[in-house]
Symmetry: C2
Amino acid sequence: MQNERPLILVSNDDGITAWGIRTLVEAVAAIGEVVVVAPNKPQSGMGHAITIGHPLRLNKSKVFGEDVLAYECSGTPADCIKLARHYVLHDRTPDLIVSGINHGSNSSISVLYSGTMSAAMEGAIEGLPSIGFSLCDFSHKADFSHTIEYVQTIVREALIQGMPEGIALNVNIPAKSEEPIKGIRICRQTKGHWAEEFEERTDPYNKTYFWLTGKFVNQDKGQDTDEWALSQNYISIVPCQADLTAHHLLGTLNQWNLK
Amino acid sequence: MQNERPLILVSNDDGITAWGIRTLVEAVAAIGEVVVVAPNKPQSGMGHAITIGHPLRLNKSKVFGEDVLAYECSGTPADCIKLARHYVLHDRTPDLIVSGINHGSNSSISVLYSGTMSAAMEGAIEGLPSIGFSLCDFSHKADFSHTIEYVQTIVREALIQGMPEGIALNVNIPAKSEEPIKGIRICRQTKGHWAEEFEERTDPYNKTYFWLTGKFVNQDKGQDTDEWALSQNYISIVPCQADLTAHHLLGTLNQWNLK
């Protein structure tokens, strides 16, 4: 890597025209050769969905100008990474996969619902260093200007240090405010859930429909958590892995009477 | 619970008319009061997707006869559990959530892509005992007859023992064969990934499209894994939790130069 620029694959879940991915491409183009494969429409909340049962489309895109090889894809963020790896890049292996910058937080349990982190996790599952970036500001007019230096610091350090195989970093960056960002914290995922409420409405044809709304409930006040770090205006980094096994419960379950 | 039948909420990802959910309803109706909220169309591979940005529909269904309260929902498996909890059941808390029986295995890394397990994980995140069942047979004509006794054994034991909060069981059942099932094993998730290949085709309008295909690659020969158990004709049970944090790497990452 000393003699050539690292190959950085970029995706997201807000779609290829979102401001967040524009910022991310700008940040990492200063560090390496960039290839983008991103959804052609918003895919927020897609979790680790993949497209089976219908075919995928992939088209070249010029949204990042002539110098960046970019494709828009009809599928989910996980599909984008799979297509990038096995079709677009096929015999080249990216040195790093980055996803985002998401318009909105993906801290705590949101990591599971997040299309942004799904792209990063897909990379990690395939053994590639992967990082998902999110800005804690859902606004479509969100100001991403303060994120660039932090994205570059984290990307450079990940390339220097190398990442343990199978790991994706979940990076959340506080919204721009008058208070300066205090720094970067390595955290664990906060224990929490979304307390849902459904707004019931009636359509013009007199049929009922529902809007999903909800409020995050933090069940975990630990000062080693991502929610705590963000509440103190730190950037949070949670190293994530794809093994869901509750290893500490294997013994308990072996006591069950299942013979 | 001694004096009344447990309330069991049923969902799946193959859709409300699939054979797998029919078998699951039949199995658990012998144990408790059953309420079904399931997708109105197949949602395989939906991972932990939720529906935001467009509204959800929910309609009563009579596919399980007059005695089972059932709804079909336009959303994902995770949406179904959220709507069931907060709208259909609103002031009643299910004693158990079961999802499946999936047409096809959800062992190893497939747990992350699985809509079946997403419904169960959604229950676990909300603090409810939840179990996802899958049959290792993708055929639409799969024979589910041997699964009923095992589903009932596991459901009864989960109700008796209670499950640790935040845990969903990922149960995979070998396909019906002449070899008898050897028993039930508590396992950890196998380390593996899907090696993708994309089949490139040209449509009648001369445009390219892709079908996602792939082959599971097992990177883990441990005899304590779900893949090993299934290969030996055991039923596998993996206790799953929603914390993705790679806790063992927090120290390593704290050595990075991120100041």
